[in-house]
């Protein structure tokens, strides 16, 4: 009966365990509020990107283009910000331009999502290939727009998005919380959400049940793209810059977070709550490793090992369950 919650319970235990481990390995340093704060600032980018990845995996697809989408969205917004805002631009115009930049960035991300959705749902290209193609294409546009340079120098208001604090809570966390809540709402309480899960398990049966697969899939990739765009805004704000090939290792981590959070690689199953706990676990590990001054590249290697470890554990758990059933 409680099997439904078993996965979540295991995750919470893992989270506590990992927290303990990092505390032991780092001592008092780990508990400083500065550490928690920096974790709270770093998690949302990865978190929102992971949500973008998760929703596509639920439909038995994948979105390899989320990082590239985020990058190009950030670049577009950055270009608008740096080209249109001059030192003499004041209050209202500046605010409007910032709004324009954000909307432009989000629109670009949405358009990429739409492109993915059309390729996958209407043309029928496999998600790996479609998003691989758009990824390469968007990387290309990013290079064309930036010529390899970094675009930087944004106004205060923009920097607040990624670095500000409201009532003691970092702004990015607030945005992430809203994004997670919206995703959870969509997945659990809207027809589109239920259809996403069902299509992930069996798109033929959903078709025969009157579900408009095309619309659902297009919405899925549109949502995925949009979320990548939101992550982009936070990212450029946090780093006060945008460039073409930022954040490539994030792709691995979004897959890791999804898998760790209970999303089935075959589609049809996975919850936002699981993903959130998984993200917290990953962030704890990341901060802990950072405090121990572990080389960045070694950290990436460790993510790879953790991903394999998680999959192995899942496999063994399944074997045990299967043996019990017989």
């Amino acid at each position: 009966m409680y099997r439904k919650y078993l996965e979540s319970i295991i995750l919470v235990f893992v989270m506590l365990g990992v927290f303990l481990l990092m505390w032991i390995m780092n001592g008092g340093e780990f508990f400083r509020s500065a550490n928690f704060q920096s974790m709270a600032f770093q998690l949302p980018e990865l978190g929102i990107l992971s949500l973008a990845m998760m929703v596509t995996i639920l439909t038995a697809g994948i979105n390899l283009s989320i990082i590239a989408s985020a990058n190009i969205s950030g670049i577009v917004a950055a270009i608008i910000l740096t080209q249109l805002i001059k030192p003499e631009t004041t209050g209202l115009s500046e605010a409007l331009i910032i709004l324009l930049a954000i909307l432009a960035g989000l629109s670009v991300a949405a358009v990429i999502g739409l492109l993915n959705g059309l390729l996958i749902a209407v043309v029928g290209v496999s998600p790996i290939l479609a998003t691989l193609g758009t990824m390469i294409l968007m990387n290309g546009f990013a290079i064309v727009l930036t010529k390899g340079y970094v675009i930087s120098g944004f106004p205060e208001a923009v920097l607040f998005i990624g670095n500000g604090i409201i009532f003691g809570i970092p702004m990015p966390i607030i945005i992430f919380a809203i994004c997670a809540a919206v995703m959870a709402l969509v997945l659990n309480s809207t027809p589109t959400g239920i259809n996403i899960y069902m299509i992930g398990s069996n798109p033929i049966a959903t078709l025969f049940s009157g579900v408009n697969n095309r619309t659902v899939l297009i919405r899925t990739y549109l949502l995925s793209g949009l979320y990548a765009g939101v992550a982009a805004i936070i990212m450029i704000s946090r780093f006060n810059s945008a460039k073409a090939d930022y954040g490539e290792s994030y792709l691995l981590m979004t897959v890791l977070a999804s898998v760790l959070g209970g999303v089935s690689a075959a589609g049809g199953f996975g919850k936002v709550s699981g993903l959130v706990i998984a993200l917290i676990i990953l962030q704890i590990v990341s901060s802990g490793l950072n405090l121990m001054r572990v080389n960045n590249f070694l950290t990436i290697a460790i993510w790879g090992m953790i991903l394999i470890l998680v999959m192995v554990v899942k496999y063994l758990a399944e074997q045990v369950q299967r043996r019990r059933a017989i």
């Binding site: 709402l185 309480s189 239920i194 398990s201 025969f208 009157g210």
Partner: protein
């Protein structure tokens, strides 16, 4: 030297909580054509797995092949002794040419690391010559028809010195012509001394081809009978242990105007000049062989397979059905023949499957799904259709066939359809559950729903329908009034026309 090829005595197999086979004695004579029948769960597939050596029987069983006893019978023994199994999926390689599909098993067993196309070709040609079959050797298996794929599987079995060929439900996707051709091949193999064991649920075909029939029920052998001593009714009784009383039912037509009228509906390569009417409260049957276009017609009415030309009038007004949404908007629902793939989402819970069709009706004022409405809806249909399930969260694949079909029915009934198209609604469902489903269908008709019952089982349409349309090669060739015809009359027409 007896004429018994395979002799199995006292075969038992127990899985946790289930006695799959219990003290079964079974034998196959050399060169005989033998059929194994039984309901789902009777132990047929377990027996086949034991014969092929894939599964080991529990202790104190005896297996003897060609006079040679085996102590620790393995799959490799069965192959060495000439036993080959063709499973329902045929186990072919769709991306490889016919010649390789036929020859690879032999090439693997010969152990050569290097191969060449010439050898492959000659092995394949030899096999095909044995049964007089000609299929292009370089065609990819995915490009040829299912009936030909079946023949490729048989040729593959013939590349070894096969003495017993076991086929699991070989005719489920074949048209009558193709079935006859297959049976010719089987008889031809018999003349070469090859025995064949069929597992089949198509009782009329069993009677057509088998010399002896073995009936399994609940893991026990009911008996082995010469086929000329059996008929449909007797076999059913042996398989189920019950004498099933079939009641004939005539639904009451509730209206003067037809709810749906179809005029000259045609689709190239699917059906031609289809015209009929159906009234509210009526149960209209469509029967005919596989390949007659029945399902294609149903899918045209449901919007999956839109027609090229012709008229569809719904409640007197002309409509176009080009997408599923057009059909569902009109109130047309379709319960598919392929329950496992088209009807249900197996790994997902029962409650999600049940509401899949009515999600938009469960919304609250904010446009979100109201969980109370959802639970009420689910509970209502579980009760009304008596769906037996340990928990509504259980994946639908854990349900029995009969209960699974109830879920599919419930899903569509929940949409308050005006027309319900049922395509083979009781396929693969045990006899007792069958009549329960028929009861549900009859009750639906009472509520004024027009029901289109498509089935290749003539008794099923005869006992439940007001009128019966016979379809053949894409056209309607006859219409019968159920009150004034008989099962034999309809069956004869179908047999004659093929």
């Amino acid at each position: 030297m007896t004429d018994v090829f395979l002799s199995m005595k006292n075969i038992s197999k127990r899985y946790v909580g289930v006695q799959a086979l219990d003290g079964v004695d079974f034998e196959i004579r050399k060169g005989e054509i033998h059929c194994l029948v039984g309901e789902n769960g009777s132990g047929k597939s377990t027996l086949i797995k034991i014969i092929s050596g894939a599964v080991a029987p529990d202790d104190s069983s005896e297996i003897m092949i060609d006079g040679q006893p085996f102590q620790n019978y393995q799959a490799i023994d069965s192959i060495h002794k000439g036993i080959e199994v063709i499973y329902q999926d045929l186990s072919l390689f769709p991306n490889l040419p016919v010649a390789e599909n036929i020859a690879l098993s032999q090439l693997i067993s010969e152990g050569d690391r290097l191969i060449n196309w010439k050898d492959t070709q000659s092995i394949a040609e030899k096999a095909m010559a044995r049964i007089g079959v000609k299929i292009p050797l370089d065609a990819l298996v995915e490009e040829i028809a299912i009936a030909d794929q079946q023949l490729v599987a048989i040729c593959r079995a013939l590349t070894s010195d096969v003495k017993l060929l076991i086929m699991d439900e070989p005719t489920s996707s074949l048209t009558k012509k193709e079935v006859d051709a297959l049976f010719e091949v089987v008889k031809d193999m018999q003349s070469h001394g090859i025995a064949t064991l069929f597992v089949s649920h198509k009782l009329n075909e069993v009677l057509q081809i088998a010399e002896r029939v073995t009936v399994l029920r609940d893991g026990k052998i009911v008996g082995t009978f010469p086929s000329n001593e059996l008929d449909d009714e007797k076999m059913t009784m042996l398989m189920t242990g019950k004498k099933v009383e079939y009641t004939k039912y005539l639904a009451e037509i509730q209206g003067e105007r037809p709810l749906l009228e179809v005029k000259n509906l045609s689709k190239r390569g699917n059906f031609k000049d289809i015209s009929f009417r159906i009234y509210p409260g009526e149960i209209l049957g469509i029967t005919g062989l596989l390949g007659s276009g029945r399902t294609e017609l149903a899918l045209a009415l449901f919007g999956v397979n839109p027609a090229d030309s012709g008229e569809i009038l719904f409640d007197g007004g002309q409509v176009k059905i080009r997408f599923i949404q057009d059909a569902t908007r009109l109130g047309i629902s379709y319960v598919p023949e392929n329950r496992l793939v088209q009807g249900l989402i197996m790994p997902q819970p029962v409650h999600k499957n049940l509401i899949l069709t009515i999600l938009s009706k469960l919304l609250n004022r904010l446009g979100l799904i109201d969980s109370h409405k959802m639970q009420d809806s689910v509970q209502k249909w579980v009760n009304e259709l008596a769906i037996k399930v340990p928990s509504l969260d259980s994946p639908v694949q854990t349900l029995s066939g009969g209960n699974q079909q109830r879920v599919v029915l419930a899903k569509w009934i929940a949409t308050a359809p005006k027309i319900l198209i049922l395509d083979g609604p009781t396929i693969g469902i045990d006899v007792a559950a069958k009549s329960a489903i028929h009861e549900i269908i009859r009750n639906l008709a009472k509520e004024g729903i027009a029901i289109l019952l498509i089935s290749d089982e003539v008794p099923e349409v005869f006992q439940n329908c007001n009128r019966i349309l016979v379809m053949h090669k894409g056209r309607f060739i006859a219409e019968y009034d159920a009150a004034q015809t008989s099962i034999e009359e309809i069956q004869n027409l179908i047999n004659l026309s093929s």
